[in-house]
């Protein structure tokens, strides 16, 4: 695939950490709302209502531009993008065209066999339209229902050059971008609709196809895989790929031709007369200073400060909440051990459950677990079981250890179990003496079974060898 596939992305990120919408004072809270309960004359586009720019939105946009190594515009202006569609209350979207707020940046992502440098063409500000609801599918619905709660939500659009060369790289890019936005605290990626992607993909020498309606990180990779495969099939059959816009259907995992929107893109852009130009390059020094530690920098610091491996540092800093969680724990426990427990064990359990770390137990509880481990109260296996219980049922580790009898059994109990197992498994002892190494593991397993997994495996090992020597 490499060298043959050309991908560019247009990523729309909602600045949902702002309190109010881009051009009006309606709240940006979108969860759990009845339709059309978070609108006003401005975002409903009522005749006569006028937009006024949210100052903080501009600050956030500049910070994102700086984090992506962009140049901030000397002079920036909002434009009207004119088209008709039921989700667009004014018949135009207020966006940016010439003079976007930031441009000419760069973001590096990991590629198979090196790094991929992805050039950022531009970062610009625009508003979200409303949301359409259909009865059934978009093609068969007899009418459309429209909710304008989302209308006017502040969006940042990040446009890349077609520098990506695989769906995996695209996914990595999206993840890194998302991560940076969360580090900047301008965006909460866990909220529904926070991030939407349009992708442009072509095979070398072929026509470019735009895919719209991708709304998840995994969706990006899947949509691209499907589309590339579709284009490759066509190429193999000698059919030319037409330049078009296709709609990604997440449920059916396919892209379909979108015949519903105006294919001829006549947007008649012109500067928004109701909004005066902005000269905000002077804000750059102040905002640059406000930039928090970004993922790459934090990763290096973790390696240096906590002495953890690059792999661990990468996993931990790939989400700001995980990084913060880790620092809490590493502050009170041995950092390298903390890294294993957070990056490998906890993250593993969370991924399996499709959970976000913000829904996991507090870092203080993790500290407690690691202290019990250190004191030898519980074994590694017990700690894992404890974490699973906390994630699935909640509660406090102390209570769960008691309730589930997770405490490691005392050495004499283990010794007694070992003695019993040896008594009951003469054949295995014979095998072991004969040189069959599996027999030893079998005996360890029997001891663990007898102690309900509460024995310390390393202790079992030691005692078994001791006793086997003796008998």
């Amino acid at each position: 695939m490499d060298g043959e596939v050309i991908i560019g992305l247009e990523v729309h990120c909602q600045l949902n950490k702002l309190n109010s919408k881009l051009f009006c004072g309606c709240s940006t809270r979108q969860q759990g709302l009845e339709p059309n309960t978070m609108t006003c004359p401005v975002c409903l586009g009522l005749p006569g209502a006028l937009p006024v720019i949210n100052k903080k939105a501009v600050e956030y946009s500049i910070m994102v531009g700086l984090a992506l190594n962009c140049e901030i515009a000397e002079h920036t202006q909002f434009y009207r993008k004119n088209y008709y569609y039921p989700d667009l209350p004014r018949g135009f979207q207020i966006t940016q065209y010439d003079w976007p707020i930031a441009s000419n940046g760069v973001l590096t992502v990991e590629s198979d066999g090196g790094d991929r440098v992805v050039r950022i063409r531009r970062v610009h500000m625009e508003e979200d339209p409303g949301r359409l609801v259909h009865q059934g599918s978009i093609e068969t619905s007899k009418f459309v229902l429209v909710d304008y709660n989302r209308s006017g939500m502040p969006l940042l659009e990040v446009v890349t050059e077609p520098d990506l060369r695989s769906p995996k790289e695209a996914r990595r890019f999206i993840n890194k971008l998302r991560n940076i936005l969360e580090y900047l605290d301008v965006f909460d990626g866990s909220l529904e609709g926070a991030l939407r992607v349009d992708a442009n993909v072509s095979l070398k020498g072929g026509a470019r196809v735009e895919i719209k309606n991708i709304s998840s990180y995994k969706g990006v990779e899947r949509a691209l895989l499907f589309e590339i495969s579709r284009q490759q099939n066509m190429k193999r059959r000698g059919v030319k790929v037409t330049q078009e816009t296709r709609h990604y259907d997440d449920e059916r995992n396919c892209t379909i031709t979108l015949r519903t929107k105006e294919q001829a893109e006549e947007y008649r852009y012109y500067p928004e007369p109701d909004l005066v130009p902005l000269s905000v390059k002077g804000w750059e020094p102040r905002l640059r200073e406000k930039l928090p530690e970004l993922p790459d920098a934090r990763r290096e610091r973790f390696k240096k400060e906590y002495g953890i491996s690059d792999d661990h540092a990468k996993v931990i800093t790939s989400e700001i909440r995980v990084a913060n969680y880790y620092e809490c724990v590493a502050g009170k426990c041995e950092p390298r051990l903390a890294a294993t427990w957070v990056a490998d064990y906890l993250k593993g359990e969370l991924n399996y459950r499709d959970m976000d770390i913000k829904d996991a137990f507090d870092p203080e509880m993790m500290v407690y677990i690691m202290e019990q481990l250190k004191k030898g109260v519980i074994t590694d296996k017990g700690a894992v079981e404890l974490m699973r219980a906390l994630l699935d049922e909640g509660g406090h580790p102390k209570d769960i250890i008691l309730a589930r009898n997770l405490a490691k059994v005392e050495t004499d109990v283990t010794k007694a179990a070992v003695t019993e197992v040896l008594k009951e498994n003469r054949e295995a002892i014979g095998d072991y003496r004969a040189g069959k190494a599996q027999a030893f593991n079998y005996l360890v397993g029997m001891v663990m079974k007898k102690t309900n997994g509460r024995a310390d495996p390393s202790e079992v090992n030691l005692l078994l060898r001791e006793l086997l020597e003796c008998t």
């Binding site: 004359p41 409903l44 586009g45 009522l46 005749p47 006569g48 209502a49 006028l50 937009p51 006024v52 720019i53 009207r80 004119n82 008709y84 569609y85 039921p86 209350p89 004014r90 018949g91 135009f92 009418f143 459309v144 429209v146 006549e266 008649r268 012109y270 007369p273 109701d274 909004l275 005066v276």
Partner: protein, 462 residues
Amino acid sequence: MSMALYEESVHKTFDRIKHSRLNAYITLDKENALGTAKGVDDGKIAGRLAGMTVAVKDCITTKGLLTTCGSKILSGYVPPFDAEVVARLRNEGAVITGKTNMDEFAMGTSTESSHYGPTKNPWDMTRVPGGSSGGSGAAVAGLECRMALGTDTGGSVRCPASFCGVVGIKPTYGLVSRYGVIAYANSLEQVGPMARNVSDAALLLDVIAGHDPKDSTSVPHDARYTDHLVDDVKGLTIGVPKEYFGEGTDMKVEKAVWDAIMTLNRLGADYKEVSLPHTKYALSAYYIIAMCEASSNLARFDGLRYGLRTGKDENWHATFSRIRAEGFGEEVKRRIMLGTYALSEGYYGKYYLKALKVRTLIKKDFEKAFKGVDVLAAPTMPYPAFRIGEHQDDPLSMYMADVDTVPVNLAGVPSISVPCGFAGKLPIGVQFIGGFFDEPMIIRTAHTFELNTDFQKLPEGF
């Protein structure tokens, strides 16, 4: 039981409206008007406009009161909010009589394109009152209110003021909030006061002018225009732009305007000829900009959230297209389509961008002129009120009527039109144009002129 002062006066006004044949109003708000009047009488409501009847052009939103823009497409639309200027009226105790008739979406110079029928000129019922704020002009001239608000995009306050023999001001762009003003061409328009004399117009301007944070194009500027109601033009220099006279201007209009300049000269003002060399390009530049902006401003009217929605729904594009075809009149359709064309790929540079460059040159013309003079004097309209139906078949000839008013909107400067003579029984208006935010200058000039002349008349029979 006898009524108190304001209540009685308002009753009389509504009586007059009831028996009127002017068709100056689309919607009346009698109950609330009487309520406010009573409040003033009882001492509960006070303010600079307390008890004074003010009519509001129907493109300015009024909370709870039907707002149509003179169009079928906004049938039944009742806004949930007041325009800022309306809020300021209410704050000062004004008695809002109702919403006045207008050219559909303010596109016109005669009020003939209104879905609600034309308004008649009180001076001659076979003639137009001017436009697009013809309803406001006629209502003021015909004593159906004391003052009115209009909007002026290319002359739409000054034209009816001139045709109806009343006073109208187009303020400096940015002086008056546009929040709640249903846009036709938003880089050109301003709400303007209309009244029977300069003092009332200045008072109304005092109330509506001033910064509004809800309008990003609203300029922080403080002034009291009633402070400039003086009788003194000594030492002022009046510029007479030669491009506004000569071919195309009615001889009687030219004479009346020159008489006005001479009057001011006798009162102590100097005058001299100036040139605004790019004037002849102003009409094209104005119409291109206005049509382009209109095509975008009117895109929101599709029947989904408010207004006209008839017939069976098909797919959205066909349905919206049908509703808009049904709801918009011919002139509005024309401008939307031409504006769409002029903004589209390949034409943007030739039309819109070019017009904006011409605008720069026109603005510079005015700036240069004001270096040597204090105020400009010119005809408001090239001729007095024409007959209803006279320009119906030729849209271009109607556009040409705006030749003296549009340069002012392009430059953004303020202008006031006051009556200065008659052509037979038809009023003629002179406009005094000032530099940016120099309303004090033009009000002073107009007020002095008014005090020393006798053109403040009522139409026959009124």
